[in-house]
Amino acid sequence: MARIGVFICHCGHNIAATVNVEKVVEFAKTLPDVVIADHNLYSCSEEGLGSIRKSIEKNKLDRIVVAACTPRTHEPLFRKTCEMAGVNKYLFEFVNIREHCSWIHTKEPDPATEKAKKLIAMGVAKAGLLEPQKETESSVIPTAVVIGGGLTGLTAAASLVAQGIDTHLVETSGRLGGILGDIEIIGPEFSRSKELLDQLVSELKGSSHAKIHLDTKVTAVSGFIGNFEVTIESKGKSEKVPAGAIILATGAKEFVPTGEYGYGSIPGVITQLEFERRLAKGDHPKRVAFIQCVGSRQPGREYCSRVCCNASLKNALRIVEAEPSSRVSIIHRDIMSYGTASERLYREASDKGVVFLRYGLERPANVTRKQKGLVVEVYDETIDENIDIDADLVVLATPMVSREDARDVGKLLKVPLDKYGFFLEAHVKLRPVEFATDGVFICGSARWPSSVSECIGQGLAAAAKASIPIRRGKVVVEAITCWADTDKCAACGSCVIACPYEAIEIVEDEDRRYAKVNEAQCKGCGTCVASCPNDAMQQRGFTSRQLSSMIDALIKNAMEET
């Protein structure tokens, strides 16, 4: 007989505003094997965790159910709490009544409360059948692979080698530096990008721990945290690199307009990066008009690319500082110069005569070529008037967009992307620069458009996180692997074929044949379980009896209504 404790979280207002926590607690008390049901304002707080620990000890609980947010955030925290109270961490079950209940049924508190009750009944049913598990340890290969040799990748790699960790930096093109290679001066301090990049490259080249691979692509990735195998290919030759952690820093690219504002048909209409290259060559035009938000903050690409306003401000200032009589205008739909340094640039630009005009999405500007040069007709919203701007160059500030190979890279590493093709990290606040897949990290503009300082910060963060398993030397493999009940197994071979990792084989023992799972190879997907006709194949933490009991609990608690 299990002794189950159920702890229901208010999560402040997040759950309690919709779900009647008191009623749910009362209901939980009636469930089979439940010894105590209680509630906390914030279960994940010191106080909440402490009260759970005390309750476990006082009530001699041996199965714990917490009904709160999503297990994808705090499961490790609660599992640890159980361990500290002397209960095996796999005797813990998390019921999601926030993301899957209170937050999505805010206008239906009664049905939400009933649903929470059923979800908890299901969780309690499963908890009653949980078994303690022992985790196995796996050693970690003390090598990191950084994919992408731009600023972010260089920063991450330099940080790793500074810690003494062998690092492979893989770059598809023939040079390091990425987009920054095209940008001579970077804001807000107007430093030279070359100095920043040279510094990083020399740190790498000067270290015996770094190996740089140019003109190289990643063609395959297999394994799991601590034990990856990254196959890289260069000029027809391939190499298998064993690694403990992988950092993805593939960056993004500039959106090239498809004819907006005359791009491609009217000479003199160029993108920001094209402008950066001209400025680097010393080409300073006298009259420049910047048009912001070209292809961003509009239907189909709703996001703000965060770096383009600052880039235009920086370049505008470069022009007026080089030639005070220059005529520079920035035609915008909000200037996103966040923070103290960038805001100062905005003021400075305005003080130095840069003209700012606001336009609206419904009435974009129009660029035409006249005898005297380019003319930008813009309806300025602020003064409610049509203005004509004369320019030698029209610079289109376009957003950063994901690279074409982003989805392929995502498939190789089995990591998700959002609808814009940027990589999706595990959790913005609780697990930044990490993927849900352990041991793979994301930083830089591949994650979303980032400024130079943000790229550096993220690269360092990813390197710091990647170094943790490598320094520890071992990782714990979650005990959710599969096994075959040798008495039941009929050796039909369905599981052997179904397993995506070839982790199962039929073995012979005296006169019996049965399936055997190689635990080191098993990734805990459970595919074998569903292919087994007589339920011999089981997955720890997801056994067929456990999941069936959840279905029984749902049926029991649902059929009593309606």
Binding site: T70, R72, I104, G526, M550
Partner: protein, 139 residues
């Protein structure tokens, strides 16, 4: 007569559809309160027996959600799901239970809106189909 309030079971895979459901929650995307999620590591671990047991027991609808084909965390896990579920639907159909009571769909970790859409659509469809005819059948 009270409006029929379906009881629906959903299996969501940890890496994609469960995360997508979480994202829908984070975005406060509202949807009908009829679905109850069981978390699994991969949609390929959803035993057809669970679906048949649930429907035999009176559950009005079962939703199996996995990663998009090609994006499964376990390589071709979802291929197996894609092969199994249509056959489960045929088993239901032949015995006289509407095969639309089982739905297989793909929701990625970033598709909170798709999760909302699938859930809302499915609940609507089950409402139209009416209560599971196996409810209250005495054996």
């Amino acid at each position: 007569m009270a409006e029929f309030n379906p009881t629906i079971l959903a299996f969501c895979c940890n890496w994609c559809s469960y995360a997508g459901a979480d994202l829908a929650g984070v975005g406060r995307l509202q949807m009908p309160p009829n679905i109850h999620v069981i978390r699994v590591m991969c949609s390929a671990s959803v035993k057809p027996e669970y679906v048949l047991k649930a429907i035999s027991g009176g559950v009005d609808g079962v939703l199996v959600l996995g990663c998009h084909i090609g994006d499964c965390h376990y390589m071709t896990g979802n291929h197996r799901t894609a092969k199994r579920m249509p056959l489960v639907q045929k088993v239901l159909k032949e015995v006289g239970i509407d095969e639309r009571r089982l739905r297989l769909d793909w929701v990625s970790a970033s598709e909170g809106e798709k999760f909302q859409k699938v859930v809302t659509e499915f609940v609507g469809e089950i409402k139209n189909l009416g209560p599971n005819p196996m409810r209250g059948v005495k054996w």
